[in-house]
């Protein structure tokens, strides 16, 4: 444990309590530990990650809008019906994640774990559904190089899907860890305290809801916006 030392106003050289002079060798000095950042840093970090993802899709959108106005080759593809289902799954997963957060806040860990599991499964279902949509389009002879709209469809769904898959890894990690901890399987290594659990789920939900909103936006962009 590190305590705050009062400043040593009278000395400008090496104050007492400093690590010994190691003679210019690169060394650890005194071997002190480093403190962790505050939770606000994690929230800001996640927020900033989302800003950069947002910018990525802003760039894709402007390319989409400009490309649509160029050339005579823009032929909108028909909306694969399965996308309605995947959209519903993803929206639902945001709801279940909120339930998980709420249950944890009330200290009901078991229900929290269940809602988390549901969220993970729904997320997985969404990705499978997106893949099915790709397969259907390919079966209809619509590929990435068929026309610019299909290029954008594949590219945007892939970009979003990759980001969502990343989120799913995080969600899966949290879910497994929470279940293990509930069953006292992770007693020794890296046990999460309650605030840490809340932080983990808070960060996860920021990301997940963003991915959810992003998908709705892409859905509208691809199939409603002309």
């Amino acid at each position: 444990m590190v305590a705050t030392l009062p400043p040593k106003p009278e000395t400008y050289g090496r104050a007492p309590g400093w690590p010994p002079d190691d003679g210019g060798n690169r060394d650890n000095g005194g071997g002190f530990d480093k403190p962790s950042p505050p939770p606000s840093a994690y929230r800001l970090g996640m927020g900033l990650a989302l800003v950069s993802i947002f910018m990525l899709f802003v760039a894709f959108t402007s390319a989409y809008v400009i490309r649509q106005g160029q050339g005579q080759d823009w032929q909108p593809i028909n909306l694969p019906v399965v996308l309605w289902l995947t959209t519903a799954l993803l929206l639902l997963s945001s709801v279940t994640l909120e339930r998980a957060r709420q249950r944890l806040r009330h200290g009901d860990e078991l229900m929290c774990n269940r809602w988390l599991t549901a969220t993970t499964l729904l997320g997985l279902g969404f990705l499978i559904g997106q893949f099915v949509a790709w397969r259907q389009l390919a079966a209809d002879g619509i590929y990435i190089n068929t026309n610019p709209h299909s290029s954008f469809f594949y590219m945007l769904t892939a970009a979003h899907g990759l980001h969502l898959a990343g989120g799913l890894v995080g969600l899966g990690y949290i879910t497994v860890k929470m279940w293990r901890q509930s069953y006292q399987l992770a007693l020794a290594a890296g046990l999460w305290t309650h605030p840490k659990k809340e932080l983990a789920i808070d960060l996860m939900s920021l990301y997940w809801h963003f991915m959810d909103g992003l998908w709705v936006y892409l859905f509208v962009l691809l199939f409603a916006w002309t």
Partner: protein, 590 residues
């Protein structure tokens, strides 16, 4: 005395791999970035010398080079496509792996946490990842030299249609170009991870008493740079993804209709090469500031330290940094005046571009104001900082010329532009890196660099830069096109040959000067005089610890800040500098 509430979990690693290779310590990561940039800089410099040799002595044969590069120097003379590959790789290496890497990833990583009194960055593991992504990006880029067709020839801006086509359009445009795009994409991800770490660190990890307006200007510069990176790199990444799809998946985002290459009709339609230019320069212009803002921060810091005066107009400097960063996002179109855009948008881009002159002038005048009446110590670090100001002015003035669309129409594809951006974005930023190296070396390695060698390095570099890049402006005024390997084909350029020879000789001498730096760097690490904790009698927090710093920077102490960052020569103070951690003074400050 209140106990800290944080939980400790980053113990100092003991194994070599954890300590020096996959380190999560910001200081080691900073050094990793720095040395990666150093290697990249020397490779990039070597490529530029090869180009210079071709330009100065176009008809000579070089048997030694032919032995080294049997493909590129077939018959002893450099082939034009090899020249273009050199040009592309020189630009890419320098812009991404030197100018973006060293000032931010190197010095920023090392000194941002220390200057805010923190033990590390907010996310050390992310920090490690961002370095290793950068490293992998560099390796992928280097691999382009060694694949079929060789390195890409589309220039560091990767303009389609050339870059979007395969080998059919030229050597290096097959796998080499793919590797180029992939390398840039990896670099984008690395920069994003780094940027969010910088911002979170500066906003959340400051020590007690260090409010935002007590931060050194270096911190403000790194912070603003990180914001720019966070907003600009995703756009380049988006462009890279689309380009990769155009190259490999048959899409047509950037390929126009009816393109005929090597006598064959390209079966794509409707895309727009200009779209790439918009995406690229939306990133590319802020990138200029990503390269130069950290240099501005370091210069402000160093000028104040060695003039023994506070930075003149601290708040104005902070505002100017932000203004430059903000305006940097609205001027990308000035790279595209010749793309056939509407004259009205050209006018808008022109006006906003010229507006950047205002915050730039504020910064320049404030640097001069800081120097004015100071008791100047001409150390190597100080010389390079003054050199930075000089180059910033020289390069900036020609920016005003190019910012006007009517003038740019003539100058755009000439050496005038090459001279301009090398002055301001290239060597001004590199001078700031040298300044930072001479200034911070004692803290990083616990030893002093050799001052005599440092000064020799400075004068060779300073005179060299002007000898190389001023004549390029003259070439530009003559109408000498850039990017051409063989200028002898044009009769009117015959008179330019002596100028090319002069530039090349100057470049070779300057390159030799850089080896003096390299020698000084490594020699001083081992044999330099022992450095005290605060050899320059500076005020900021990194000097409030041992040289080199311990693993957690401040040996378990939490610093308390009572002073602004640049309290030099305060009337009534016992010494001519007051460190930020010194107790409040009883005397009135003004």
């Amino acid at each position: 005395m209140e106990p800290t509430t944080t939980i400790h979990h980053h113990a100092p690693p003991s194994s070599f791999i954890r300590k020096y290779i996959f380190s999560t310590d910001h200081k080691i990561i900073g050094l990793q970035y720095y040395f990666l940039a150093l290697v990249a800089a020397f490779i990039g410099m070597g490529l530029s010398l090869l180009m210079r040799i071709k330009l100065a002595w176009p008809t000579e044969t070089w048997p030694t080079l032919a032995a080294l590069f049997p493909e590129g120097f077939a018959g002893g003379q450099m082939k034009p496509e090899f020249y273009l590959a050199m040009l592309t790789m020189h630009g890419t290496i320098m812009v991404f792996f030197v100018l973006t890497t060293a000032p931010q990833g190197g010095f920023g990583n090392y000194f941002l946490p220390m200057q805010i009194g923190a033990a590390d960055m907010a996310f050390p593991v992310l920090n490690m990842l961002s370095f290793w992504f950068t490293f992998v990006g560099f390796v992928v880029l280097m691999a382009a030299f060694f694949v079929t067709g060789g390195a890409p020839i589309s220039g560091w801006t990767g303009y389609p249609p050339l870059s979007a086509l395969g080998q059919i359009a030229g050597p290096g445009l097959g796998l080499g170009q793919d590797l180029w795009v992939i390398s840039i994409a990896i670099f984008c991800v690395a920069s994003l991870l780094g940027a969010l770490n910088f911002i979170s660190t500066m906003l959340n990890m400051r020590t007690k008493g260090l409010d935002l307006f007590k931060l050194p200007l270096t911190c403000w510069a790194w912070f603003t740079t990180a914001v720019l990176a966070l907003l600009a790199f995703p756009v380049l990444l988006a462009g890279g993804v689309l380009l990769l799809l155009d190259r490999n998946a048959g899409s047509s985002f950037f390929l126009p209709e009816g393109l005929i290459v090597s006598g064959k009709v390209i079966n794509r339609s409707g895309g727009s090469p200009i779209l790439w230019q918009h995406l690229f320069w939306y990133f590319g212009h802020p990138e200029v500031y990503i390269a130069i803002l950290p240099g501005m921060g370091a210069t402000s810091q160093i000028l104040a330290t060695f003039a023994r005066k506070p930075v003149y107009g601290y708040r104005a400097m902070v505002i100017a940094i932000f203004a430059i960063g903000l305006l940097g996002f609205f001027v990308w179109g000035h790279h595209m005046f010749v793309s056939g855009m509407s004259p009205f948008s050209g006018l808008a881009f022109s006006v906003i571009t010229l507006t950047i002159g205002i915050p730039s002038a504020i910064k320049t005048f404030n640097w001069l104001g800081t120097l004015w009446g100071g008791r100047i110590r001409f150390t190597s670090a100080m010389l390079f900082s003054i050199g930075f100001v000089s180059l910033f002015v020289s390069g900036g003035v020609t920016g005003m010329v190019l910012g006007q669309s009517s003038l740019d129409l003539f100058y755009h594809d000439t050496y005038f532009v090459v001279g301009h951006f090398h002055m301001i974005m290239g060597v001004a930023a590199i001078f700031a890196m040298f300044a930072g190296t001479y200034y911070w070396f004692p803290k990083m390695f616990g030893r002093m660099m050799h001052e005599g060698l440092g000064r020799l390095h400075f004068w060779l570099s300073f005179i060299g830069v002007y000898a190389i890049f001023v004549p390029m402006h003259i070439l530009g005024v003559m109408g000498h096109p850039r990017r051409y390997a063989q200028s002898t084909a044009y009769e009117f350029l015959g008179s330019a040959l002596p100028l090319h020879e002069f530039i090349t000789v100057a470049a070779i001498i300057m390159a030799l000067g850089q080896f003096i730096f390299l020698f000084n760097l490594f020699w001083s690490m081992k044999k330099g005089a022992k450095a005290p904790d605060n050899p320059w009698e500076a005020t900021t927090l990194e000097w409030a610890t041992s040289s080199p710093p311990p693993f957690d920077n401040f040996g378990g102490r939490q610093l308390v800040v009572h002073h602004g960052p640049y309290e030099y020569s305060v009337p009534g103070a016992p010494k001519d500098y007051i460190m930020q951690t010194d107790p409040p003074l009883a005397v009135a400050k003004h």
